[in-house]
């Protein structure tokens, strides 16, 4: 076990997993919030747009999106972000992970919006707040606080789903696992090492979000 750990760059691989997860989580939060606003907006066309986004990306396999980003978008359509293959993969992996998980972030936020009694939105309107004012002052702050637990689950899913980036050649944890299995043959030990790596990443996230959801929940 020690010699496998010494011969391969575990930290480097998991560092890339962390980088992918961090930037994707940020991207997913931004896109997901925008889509959630679309879905609760009073304009039917915007609501339809939001619903279409969620249904499209929530129901498309991540592997398919990932392969399409490189094989379809980069190489056939010529949408390469960088001429350096590794950089191109890195950026596209972040885009795909963000876009995909934004659908789940949106639904988590919408469930947060639903925790707010309808009377509050009506009250906000009746004291003369516009849609954007009632959104930023009344609805969204409470929605985020009510959606912390499902957002945490989405983040954990995102961290684990980042391994899908191995199919386009990102040298993250799953990519390194492929290398080790090729060289050392597959064994329970190798799987165990990577499982432990992911538990170390996701367990604190779960604990943090559970405690946050308790501390920040809106008391009603």
């Amino acid at each position: 076990m020690a010699d496998i750990l010494a011969r391969y760059d575990f930290l480097g691989a998991f560092w890339l997993t962390i980088q992918l997860s961090f930037w994707s989580a940020l991207g997913a939060l931004v896109i997901g919030t925008v889509v959630a606003i679309l879905r609760v907006s009073p304009v039917p066309v915007l609501r339809l747009l939001g619903t279409a986004y969620v249904n499209t990306f929530r129901n498309t396999p991540l592997t398919l999106l990932m392969v399409f980003s490189i094989l379809g978008a980069s190489y056939v359509l010529g949408l390469e972000i960088s001429d350096n293959v590794t950089t191109n993969i890195f950026y596209w992996a972040i885009i795909v992970l963000s876009v995909y998980h934004a659908a789940f972030v949106c639904e988590a936020l919408r469930s947060g919006v639903n925790t707010i009694p309808a009377g509050q939105a009506e009250a906000a309107r009746s004291i003369g707040l516009t849609f954007s004012q009632s959104l930023t002052e009344v609805l969204l702050p409470q929605a985020f606080r009510g959606a912390i637990a499902p957002l945490g689950s989405t983040l954990i899913a995102l961290i684990k789903n980042s391994t899908v980036a191995a199919v386009i050649g990102a040298a993250e944890a799953a990519g390194l696992m492929a290398v080790i299995i090729e060289n050392e043959t597959g064994s329970v030990l190798v799987f165990f090492l990577f499982a432990v790596g992911f538990v170390i990443l996701t367990l604190p996230v779960g604990i943090l979000f559970t405690s946050l959801s308790r501390r920040l929940a809106v008391k009603r």
């Binding site: 490189i70 094989l71 050649g169 492929a178 299995i181 090729e182």
Partner: protein, 273 residues
């Protein structure tokens, strides 16, 4: 349902379980019903099309099975993806693995090998109108493609540091990108490359450079310590080479793309330890 009926069903289930446990027990290899692990997705080597199997590995496996006492229609073909080959052998889910299985020391710790039955080498596949790539030394500034984590990918990164390497999950994706023109070369064993170049939809579009820069000894993987089986397989490979079936199989499966088996072929199978 009465308790009697339930009891009968439970008893029948227990009987079925105990029977299957007997059948799956570790015994000597059933030479009349061999289970052979091959690739299902490697044109020219091991390819499943509907219910039929074709390729060099399939032909070699069929010949060996025939010598061992299994007729072609009795062979059970089992898919053996690269990462699972050792496990399939160790757990007895297959008797033999004939799946572009390179003999190396790490693998020898877990399984035994008969052979080699073919000597392949890492090579490059390029578009047929591309004359700028002649070997690994001319890859500077080119975009190269291989499979995530594969020996070929690691090898080329050592050989050409800083190579612009795109990795995908399968070679088919690399071939698509190569034909589309955004990838300049695909690298792995020349046998696999020749298999793709020989596919009807790529006829005339791709060529193997033909300057192998590694040696891969393809062996037949089998359970560790089964020297008897290993000897029989080795004899079968020897007779396949000497009676001309080997050359016929190589020509039939890989010949279409002007592929010539690299130096050292046909190989001399090593003695079983």
């Amino acid at each position: 349902m009465s308790w009697k009926k339930i009891g009968a069903i439970v008893a029948a289930g227990a009987l079925a379980l105990s029977l299957s446990a007997c059948g799956g027990g570790a015994g000597s290899t059933d030479l009349a019903n061999l289970k052979i692990g091959i690739k299902f997705d490697q044109p020219g080597l091991g390819l499943k099309t509907g219910d039929t199997y074709s390729g060099l590995d399939v032909d070699v496996a069929t010949y060996i099975a025939g010598k061992l006492g299994t007729t072609a229609d009795k062979i059970q073909w089992i898919q053996a993806p690269s990462a699972q080959r050792e496990t399939l052998i160790e757990t007895g889910q297959v008797d033999l693995v004939v799946a572009t299985y390179s003999i190396n020391d790490e693998r020898k710790k877990k399984v035994d090998f008969a052979g080699p039955y073919f000597i392949a080498g890492q090579d490059l596949l390029v578009r047929s109108d591309d004359t700028s790539i002649t070997g690994p030394e001319s890859l500077d500034g080119k975009k190269l493609c291989s499979v995530t984590g594969s020996t070929s990918a690691q090898n080329v990164q050592k050989k050409v540091p800083g190579v612009n390497l795109q990795e995908f999950g399968t070679y088919s994706e690399c071939v698509t990108a190569l034909v589309a023109g955004t990838i300049d070369a695909l690298t792995t064993d020349d046998t696999i490359l020749a298999g793709y170049a020989a596919q009807a939809q790529y006829a005339g579009k791709l060529k193997v450079v033909g300057a192998p820069f590694s040696t891969e000894n393809y062996g037949v993987g089998l359970k560790k310590g089964n020297t008897d089986l290993c000897n029989k397989v080795t004899d079968a490979i020897k007779s396949m080479i000497s009676d001309g079936s080997w050359q016929k199989a190589v020509d039939a499966n890989l010949g279409a793309a002007n592929y010539k088996a690299p130096a050292g072929n046909p190989p001399t199978p090593a003695a079983c330890s």
